[in-house]
Subunit: 373 residues, 3 copies
């Protein structure tokens, strides 16, 4: 039943327990999601000072809001007094301050403690030290990235390095001007599978011919099993008779004017570990953010971003959205079908990667390194 | 993020894991709820011999019933033969005996084994030794208190001592003649929070101004944040224009005639650890019993007790009940809002108590002592 | 509360934790259900090549199907590539091969890998070694028995030995020609109880007088508490005025012609550890298969088997089925009533077995031996 040595064509995956053991997941939460830069919310979803969103990062609830100077701040969503959640809604807006609804400890938009019952009788209570606990913040691509580490890693050496590894440079992504695109559509998927199965699925196209009929129609080279992510700088070319990146190959929306000519009629994809996928086509960008909630459950928020005028004018994006929505559904169904076998004794030593999947081995090495194996 | 030393105004609470760790809860079940006197059912709910109730005490199902001599008995709700539950209903009535519905082992109302198929062929089977396993019982305030310890602690040194600590003497409570009041209303709350959060909430009034508008209207001194339980013997005075302890301050019901003059127009509250709160006002007494079911779930049964004639004559108690029902809902919502943060790294060392909450530290010390820290 | 030594009439059962501890259940899954012959599906439910069923055996999903030569094969339901479930339906039919729906790895009906994208470019990939992982199979009584052990135990020394122990010989069971009976009815029960409670219940009749009024009417000797399984070779005799093994004692169906005269008008029962019960009466055979899914949950599939002509002609089997369906419901309710007490401290050392239950002690010894106590 077990294979002690693999033939050269094959490489082993991670052992099954990496996808089922709550202790492995707890390690990943601590050493990956709570230690790295985590893409949390779209900056445009915080339109003005006092607007806020709450998101789960690892095991923590994080409160992200826009301060009076229009900068974005992030805090642990925990009152410093007795721990009540400051905000329980997913999104909302306050005027000038966050007030804990339990004992009315009140924090300004920068997190400083500014009021509390009897506060004046507690002159020894430092209002900054007992302010909301700050979380590091960085805006990029129009998204708010947070980092719960006491000493966040370099954004350049981690997030941007992923872009360079994949595209050869960051400028190729800059061409799409993602931060200034507008949200055309957002779909949230609740996937009953470990987050690493979703990453592995996104990294390879060996499955494309089997489960993605619409996608391989638009990108014929995907039918051969090599993903756009296999070669540095490579973008998969649209089929000759394809007019746009849509479910039926019909014409897409207005092209993003700043992309280069060789980026036209091509699809590029980047995996930004641990939880972001960026997909670029001439007329839109699709951003996936994963929120791993349990060893066998991951919520994926997927945004379709277009030129602001496309969204403002209400142009019909339905066939455009439908293509990758189907891809998402096809992929997540495959992941959910795989999750239950991870506990099988036949998967105790893992499965195998074929040559067009061997690069997934680098992801597995990275995970092992992060969790200290 | 962490505070190594606190300013004098602040005291630390218990660390967050005390509210989230199932192993801590298992210790509490064993060393607190299964070792101390536990207020289980109202005696009047067992109106005659054979009437029974089943309740969960710690991890155990306990069968409480009235025997032929009208005394109240309590047993583990477990057949001595192969363990089937004797009674699965929450309440009911048998005629003369409890018969296990699996193999018909039959126990009289005192728990003795009196019949079983082929029992006469098993003369070596002692009918008392193989009777239902007894649990210690004590009636007080019209409630049945049980204790699962092999050697129950002194009722006087534990339960009654709590009353003395709070009121100065037990006579002050005796004045309300609680055992002879009648049940006007019972409301059961299923609270998704650790039982200790509910105790802590009940012990302090620092939150009153923020979440209890109706209560602070009736008891204006509560708006200052000092609970009735802060000073020995103190009862919070009704506002000058308040006619009764009702949701709108309108007139209450008939005054309990045996209370003293200085108990009139006052609210007193006692926390009887680990799971009972008693609230006294001139015309009624409110008794909370908590049933901790999981580290993050507690069922609270709340009884509103009035003079028998008030209940018998069907007087309108709705505004009277509504006041504390709102207080309950406000408090339990606050507890449920606090529970999720208990697992945050920002709460790993606990939160802080302000001066008007410092007495909660004694409760924390007591819990630590009980679970052997 | 505890009894250090038992009177001679009584024997101790297993301690309560054997029925509640997930670690004990995990041991049982590994050392019992995944190591012994397990009765999985009815062979007739796989009518032709390509027909398949999926069943859970211990912690594993097993794919059972009929091959081109009409033999039955069983495999782990796990693709050798990246682990996706091959079949997710409970039953179905493929034409010539099983194709994994994720990356299209394709296996013939004997499990050999016959196709995969780019397979020809991986000449070092052995198609048998990377075929579906085989599970040992044996057909008997018209059922497919599987064994997940690397070296399955002797079928004769385990399964058949149970029949000999109970009936004295296997020929007595052969008389019923079970493999050639037809399925009249199947009912599936989802029982919230540990599988051992169901075995113990089936092994004794001390409960019959209490919970089985219909059964003791048909088999009067059961009212005395001695089960058919107590004496080697014994079958319980129908009551004098009973015409058939039906819910009201009315006439049954056509008698199985090959049974012996002394098997007429008698009920025999066999417990084939760990998960099968066989019940024989002159005109039908009832087979229970248990699927233990959790320490406190067991699915039981019960088949009522009749002569093929009885089923083909659509004769009325309703009163025949109704008798044991009621017995099942009565038994499983008793087991569900017993499960919650298994965690009581009063059951920490177990309950007691009366003389007519003492043979259950052998089952307990067997369980202890299997899990290595």
């Amino acid at each position: 039943m077990s294979t002690t040595s693999l033939p050269p064509s094959l490489m082993a995956t991670l052992p099954g327990e990496h996808y089922t053991d709550p202790q492995v997941f707890a390690l990943e939460q601590k050493r990956i999601f709570e230690s790295m830069w985590f893409c949390a919310v779209r900056a445009a979803d915080l339109p003005k000072p006092g607007a806020f969103r709450t998101v789960q990062v690892g095991t923590e609830s994080i409160l992200i809001s826009r301060a009076r100077d229009n900068s974005i701040r992030a805090f642990y969503n925990v009152c410093r007094h007795r721990g009540a959640r400051i905000c329980t809604e997913e999104s909302g807006e306050v005027k000038r301050a966050f007030q804990c609804p339990y004992h009315a400890w009140t924090y300004d938009l920068e997190g400083k403690l500014i009021a509390a019952p009897n506060l004046t009788k507690m002159p020894d209570l430092d209002r900054v030290e007992y302010g909301l606990v700050n979380v590091a913040v960085r805006e990029w691509l129009g998204y708010v990235w947070v980092c719960l580490a006491d000493e966040p890693p370099s954004f350049e050496d981690t997030v941007l390095a992923e872009v360079r590894t994949r595209l050869g440079d960051v400028a190729s992504l800059d061409n799409y001007d993602v931060a200034n695109l507008a949200l055309g559509r957002r779909i949230v998927y609740d996937v009953k599978a470990n987050w690493k199965l979703i990453v592995e699925n996104f990294m390879e196209c060996y499955h494309c011919a089997t489960i993605h009929p619409e996608l391989t129609e638009v990108l014929p080279e995907f039918a051969d099993g090599y993903a756009a992510q296999y070669y540095v700088g490579h973008g998969a070319q649209f089929g000759d008779d394809v007019q746009g990146f849509t479910v039926d190959g019909s014409e897409g929306l207005d092209r993003i004017p700043t992309i280069s000519d060789d980026q036209d009629r091509r699809y590029y994809a980047i995996t930004i570990k641990p939880q972001v996928f960026v997909n670029m086509v001439p007329d839109h960008v699709i951003v996936h953010r994963m929120f791993p909630l349990a060893v066998d459950r991951t919520v994926v928020e997927c945004d379709w971003l277009y030129l602001p005028e496309v969204v403002a004018e209400g142009k019909d994006i339905s066939r455009s959205v439908e293509l990758f929505h189907r891809v998402n559904e096809q992929d997540f169904e495959a992941c959910e079908r795989t999750q239950p076998s991870m506990s099988s004794r036949t998967y105790a030593k893992g499965g195998v990667l074929v040559p067009s999947e061997h690069h997934i081995g680098l992801f597995h090495d990275w995970v092992r390194g992060k969790i200290g194996e």
